[in-house]
């Protein structure tokens, strides 16, 4: 497989979980403007319900680390427990370097620090999806 085959033309589907409505909406707009399909969820619980109902089949998950009820870390752990296959990109305003290690340990493939640019976002998603597919094909 050539790297080009993983381009935006494939119209990747992205799931976004963020408790802040305006942040959620702005990310969806950006993803859509970047040519990605995007669906948003206000909490990890909503996403898991959608996955269970098979309403969502995202290629990649954008996950806010900083949420009440269920933090990004807990959502990530639950997803890993359920054996989902799509890669997770965690984003947060948290500057702490150990945050990345925490999420990487929980199975996240990338970590973005808010605020992020469209290019950063796009590049990270592409890298995550490519790496994930490569891993899955290798199995």
């Amino acid at each position: 497989m050539t790297p080009d085959s993983a381009g935006p033309t494939l119209r990747l589907s992205i799931a976004i979980v963020d408790d802040e409505e305006l942040v959620r909406i702005s990310l969806r707009r950006l993803c859509r403007a970047l040519g990605l399909a995007a669906s948003v969820y206000a909490s990890g619980k909503e996403l898991i319900e959608a996955l269970d109902a098979r309403d969502a089949r995202p290629d990649c998950l954008l996950l806010d680390a900083h949420m009440p009820d269920m933090t990004g870390l807990e959502v990530q752990q639950q997803l890993v427990g359920r054996g989902v296959r799509f890669p997770t990109i965690v984003y947060s305003a948290d500057d702490a370097p150990e945050a990345l290690d925490r999420y990487a340990g929980a199975g996240a493939v990338a970590y973005l620090r808010k605020p992020m640019t469209g290019d950063q976002l796009m590049a990270t998603i592409e890298r995550a999806v490519t790496a994930s597919r490569a891993t899955q094909q290798a199995r």
Binding site: D19, E20, L22, V23, I25, S26, L27, R29, L30, R32, A33, L34, H66, M67, P68, T71, A93, D94, D95, K114, P115, M116, T117, G118
Partner: protein, 707 residues
């Protein structure tokens, strides 16, 4: 003999004597001379008609010596007293008679001395009727009775009398009269020092000389005459009274006692010489006549002297008091005329350039001076007029103001009060105090308190810095994503104007939100003057919860506010009250650090407490507060946090107290603790209807459930 040298004669610990010191040797010598002289006079004044002396000076001498000398020296005085008694009476009387009489004398003087020292613990003085009654009871009644009981037995045993009562009466009367006439002079002289040692003005010396001359003339003139008719007798017996009363009024008990002694001796001497008014009576009655005259005159004059002495003491105390008060004091009568001012007031009144109304001194009409102030643009006088009129009219008991006075060029702050006098004649007392220094200290303290509370605020916000960065990053992230999306959309054709408009609207609203966070932060970080204004509790709490929002999420605490509807606004300083709330919320979060995340619930309750009050309660589900800490929780430097300074709660208490409220803590029955504080409502409470509580999350502004 070291025990004898340099012992204070007057230095008995029990009595404060102003008479200075005498060595024991000199004291005994002096006492010996007086006692010998007294015994000789006593012996010379023995009347065969009564078998005793009319006056017995040794009683006064020994009692005075015992009262002022140290108890361990009493034995010396008693021995010298006995010796002189013996010398004066031997060989006229048998040794056994003299020794028996000695026992009577010793017991009498000891009784008097012990009683006097007990009754006049602080200082022997005869100021007032109570003092006089104590003196008469101990030295004129009880001690002479003790002496007479033993002395009369002596007379009977030695065959001087067939029955017991007549010698008892004679002994008692002679010593009681001694107690009334010369004992006060002896006592007060040894206690206060000889009168000639004091400070004597020339007029006082002249007065004493004139008084002595008039007394001598009256005594010799009256007491050595024989009154043939009743009016002559009355004239003679009353003649000494005016000069005695003069002495009593001007020279108190000590002077009166000296004068009475002189009158008594003259009367006795005259009677002894078979001249004077008492010889008109039959031979067996004139001694009684003489004794009644001396006794009743002495009692009357001593009463007058004691009352006058009390009055003088009160007058001197009043003068000393007025002089020692540093405040400027003026006493006004019921018409507002200045009756008296103290030295401080007078000095101030003489300061150049002060307000005209402040120049009043004794005799001036204060009300008139203040009325004149209305034309003089003298604001101080105008205030004074309001005060003095309202107090003198009885509208109020006390009027008090603080004002800045810049009349003299250097600004001063004074506290001025006018208070009604609790006297039947009415009147008022005006007091002025320079409080410039106190005021300056007050301002400095306030400044320091503000500084400290500002520091505490900055430190509390420091704790929040991570959360606050998040709070700002959130809208910034949203703005960034929206702007990028818009840029991409702008390159597409056809333009989706609707979506671009939506994006811009969201950007504006997020921008607004970021500005709001900064505005709140700046308000809390500013160090400003305290500004009291009516505040809405709901707004206050929701603003603080917004500020703490990100921190609550990080700490995984769910906050709910339950606010009673229709609460009146509270009067307070917005920033300071937010500081208190923020502090209590952060403390509650800290207390729930080890609680399971799903149980970390924080509830803010606001309701009407007592009438006119608003009560705010912050309830957590943490570890609670240990009983030994709960009382001291609000003291400075008391903390449970390893890194805490322990100032947050103490500053919170200071702030709440400055708002006229109070703050306290209690443990919840079902775990955790609740911190309460009450504040005054800004307006009188509206009619207390039924308070239906409404869950905060159900109403938009008070919604605080962490999003």
């Amino acid at each position: 003999m070291p025990a004898i040298d340099d012992v204070r004669l007057s230095g008995a610990a029990l009595l404060r004597a102003k008479g200075g010191t005498l060595s024991l040797r000199n004291g005994l010598l002096l006492f010996g001379v007086i006692s010998l002289l007294g015994n000789a006079i006593g012996a010379a004044m023995r009347y065969p008609e009564i078998g005793s002396a009319v006056l017995f000076p040794p009683y006064a001498a020994l009692t005075a010596a015992l009262v002022v000398s140290s108890r361990r020296h009493w034995v010396w005085f008693i021995l010298v007293g006995d010796l002189t008694h013996f010398v004066a009476h031997w060989p006229q009387f048998s040794v056994s008679w003299i020794l028996f009489a000695d026992v009577a004398n010793i017991c009498r003087a000891l009784t008097a001395a012990v009683l006097l020292r007990w009754l006049f613990r602080d200082a022997l003085k005869l100021d007032g009727i109570v003092d006089l009654l104590r003196f008469v009871a101990s030295a004129v009644v009880i001690a002479p009775a003790v002496g007479a009981t033993i002395g009369a037995a002596n007379v009977v045993l030695h065959g001087g009398s067939d029955s017991y009562l007549p010698p008892w009466g004679a002994w008692f009367t002679s010593n009681a009269l001694t107690g009334l006439t010369m004992l006060p002079a002896f006592l007060l002289t040894v206690v206060n020092g000889p009168p000639w040692r004091g400070h004597w003005t020339r007029s006082r010396v002249i007065e004493v000389v004139v008084l002595g001359a008039v007394l001598a003339a009256t005594c010799t003139g009256a007491l050595m005459l024989r009154g043939d008719s009743r009016w002559q007798l009355a004239l003679i017996l009353y003649a000494p009274l005016p000069v005695l009363i003069w002495t009593a009024l001007r020279f108190e008990c000590v002077g009166a006692s000296y004068a009475l002694t002189a009158v008594a001796f003259t009367a006795i001497w005259a009677a002894d010489r078979r001249i004077g008014p008492f010889l008109t009576a039959p031979p067996d009655e004139y001694v009684l006549d003489l004794q009644l005259f001396v006794g009743l005159t002495s009692l009357t004059v001593l009463c007058i002297a004691a009352v006058s002495s009390a009055r003088n003491a009160a007058f001197h105390l009043h003068r000393a008091l007025m002089a020692s008060v540093h405040d400027h004091v003026a006493i006004l009568d019921a018409r507002g005329v200045v009756v008296e001012v103290n030295e401080a007031w007078r000095r101030f009144a003489e300061t150049p350039n002060i307000a005209p109304s402040q120049r009043v001194v004794e005799g001036d009409d204060y009300i008139a001076a203040c009325r004149a102030a209305v034309d003089d643009d003298d604001r101080i006088g105008q205030q004074g007029l309001i005060g003095v009129l309202s107090v003198l009219n009885g509208d109020r008991k006390r009027y008090e103001i603080e004002y800045d006075d810049s009349w003299t060029g250097t600004p001063h702050r004074y506290s001025f009060s006018i208070e009604a006098l609790e006297s039947p004649d009415g009147g008022a007392i005006a007091q002025r105090r320079d409080v410039t220094a106190r005021r300056r200290e007050q301002l400095e303290m306030e400044e320091q308190r503000r500084e400290l509370s500002h520091l505490a605020r900055v430190s509390a916000l420091g704790q929040l810095s991570g959360a606050l960065a998040h709070e700002l990053n959130q809208p910034l992230a949203s703005i960034g994503s929206n702007a990028e999306a818009a840029r991409i959309l702008l390159k597409r054709r056809p333009l989706d104007n609707g979506e671009i408009d939506n994006i811009l609207r969201d950007i504006l609203s997020e921008n607004q939100r970021a500005a709001e966070v900064i505005r709140r932060l700046r308000a809390l970080l500013r160090r400003g003057e305290t500004r009291l204004q009516p505040l809405n509790a709901t707004e206050l709490i929701s603003e603080v919860l917004e500020l703490a929002h990100a921190e609550l999420i990080t700490r995984r605490v769910t906050a709910t506010s339950v606010i009673a509807p229709n609460l009146p606004p509270v009067l307070g300083d917005r920033v300071q009250l937010q500081q208190v709330l923020l502090n209590l919320i952060l403390n509650a979060c800290e207390a729930m650090r080890s609680t399971r995340p799903s149980d970390r619930r924080l509830v803010l309750l606001v309701n009407a407490g007592a009438p006119g009050q608003i009560q705010v309660s912050i309830r957590d589900c943490g570890t609670g507060i240990s009983p030994e800490l709960i009382e001291r929780l609000f003291e400075p430097f008391v903390t449970t946090k390893p890194e805490g300074l322990g100032l947050g709660l103490s500053i919170s208490r200071t702030i709440v107290a400055a708002h006229g409220g109070r703050v306290w803590a209690e443990n919840n029955a079902d775990g955790g603790a609740t911190l309460h504080f009450v504040l005054s409502a800004a307006v009188p409470e509206a009619t207390a209807g039924e308070l239906s509580f409404m869950l905060g999350s159900a109403s938009a502004p008070s919604s605080a459930a962490a999003r």
